[in-house]
Amino acid sequence: MARYKDILGGLFWLAVAIGMYYASFSIRVLAIGSGSTSFVGSGFMPRLVATGMMILSLTIMWQSWQKLKTAQTDAGSNDELSFREKYLPVLASLGLLIAYIAFMEMLGFVIMTAVYLCGQMFILATPEHRKPVLFVAISVVSALAIFYTFVEVFQLMLPENRLF
């Protein structure tokens, strides 16, 4: 899989570029200035950038293909961690971040920050470093300290619920 990452990445950006090129035609063109300037409307730069992206992603794919053809021997040799082992904690962190932002408006900054901090510390720490009481204490104190510093001292608005 890792051997094909440049080809897969190139394909992804090629698809994005084609999508952007296509979508740029739906940008509303307003008649501003003289008629001769119409070719640099709001769709001009997106089309130019999309074209560049298409050329570059194809170049990257071609270069990677050439490399694969010449070096076919070390097929997936030194990737000692499986995809699951490597990326499960990343996905867990991502899920936690999504939940943090999604529920912030409903539950308020303090509660969601404390929950996020605690959860993220558990994800990042190795089992022998996981100290639940310490993590909960740090999370609650940090969330309250951040909230009161910014809301009370700097008068910044942060999402609140009735409790916090």
Binding site: R28, G33, V40, S42, V90, L124
Partner: protein, 504 residues
Amino acid sequence: MLDMFIAGFASVLTFKVMALIVLGVVVGIIFGSIPGLTATMAVALCIPLTFGMDITAAISLLIGLYVGGVSGGLLSAILINIPGTPSSVATCFDGAPMAKRGEAGKALGVGIVFSFWGGLLSVFALIFLAPPLSTIALKFGPYEYFAIAVFSLTLIASLSSKSMPKGLLACLIGMMMAFVGIAPIDATQRFTFGIDQLSSGFDLLPVLIGLFAVTEVMKEAEGCWVKGRVYDAAKHKIALGKIKGFGFTLAEAMTQKLNFIRSFIIGLVIGILPGIGGGTSNLLAYAVAKSQSKTPDKFGTGIIDGVVASETSNNASVGGAFLPLLTLGIPGDTVTAMLLGGFMIHGVTPGPLLLTSHGKLVYAIFAALIIAHIVMLVVEFWGLRIFIKALDIPKYILLPIIISLCVVGAFGLNNDLTDVWSLLIFGLLGFGLEKLGYPLAPLILGFILGPMVETNLRRGLMHTGGDFMPFFAQPIAALFFALTALSVGWIIYQGYKKRSPSGV
């Protein structure tokens, strides 16, 4: 002039004003060093505190915040590889590898000292060159801005360390992300997919902290559940290293003369130009330093040249940004835009008449800027060991707290969760690009310069009725187009030279 200067210093050298400058610098450094909180935010949040003060005290506090905020960004950039402010993005590239190697003290020392000199000299440039430089800056129209932006984009080549196509593609991805929102000139909505919150586009702050801070958390999480994995405290702990004074010798500093002068000029000029500031100048100065170096391959591995270029230029932009503000009433960057508000609240309108109508105040500002830089040097020197001590906190505790602070910073921009969602989107994008081996610096440069290219191209073509030739007829624009051609030629020549001896 000398009597005005003395009067300016006299009005600043009171206990109250000095205390406010020290307070401003300390708070500024704290804001600058926390990713997500910037100098702009520090000034914005503290402006209400100045309502009851006289104007000298108020502006001195805000200047302290500005100077501290711009410089403080280097701390987190070096120590945790997350830029504290947009001005310190390039500081990460060499500062963080130096810290990892156990030279955190040296990297910080170099950053602090060159920030100081860059900033201080820019103040002297402000004092002595203000009128002629601002007159030149006023001549910059869409043609010149377009030419400068195009020239700056050619510098991406030197930021694309391993693969040129990947660097260029990253730049175009940055430009693509900047398309989201309202288009320049005709205000048409683009790529908002019917989501109202996207109509104002992505702000630079969530883009940056997403790309660096969220990506850092994801990188830290990678593979951390593997059985038998030991948390390597030594790997995560940043060694102060043996440090005397600022951690580097005079001989080392002297090797940076040319780099310093070049980066200072870049920082000053970028600072003077309205609309761009330290966020752009640090990347450009780094790119130029790398392209002009005899050992460009060493950039990114942890050499002081990269830190010198970035930190000199971002602080040089401080004096540069004040120049159009004081002489023309035009803010050079977001912080000086806030300061303009601060002036107006106290009944002073900056502009060409400021020096004659409020001469004493102008010189008090110069004095406050000089003193703020000296205070910044002293505070950061004494705080150096404390900053590093903060990193004794394990990364699994420190990083989540930093993310929470980033969320505060992103939310505080517009009191809207959309900016916090953008933080996440750019974090994911940054992690994906890192995994695919795409450099992030060109993406940031593309994001900043893309709108500048488009706006000024379209504005210029409206001026000329669609004719591109007048772009080349303006001397300043023509000079930058010539430099662009030279830069592209140089890149092609370098590429050819690299290939030819090995015959690849």
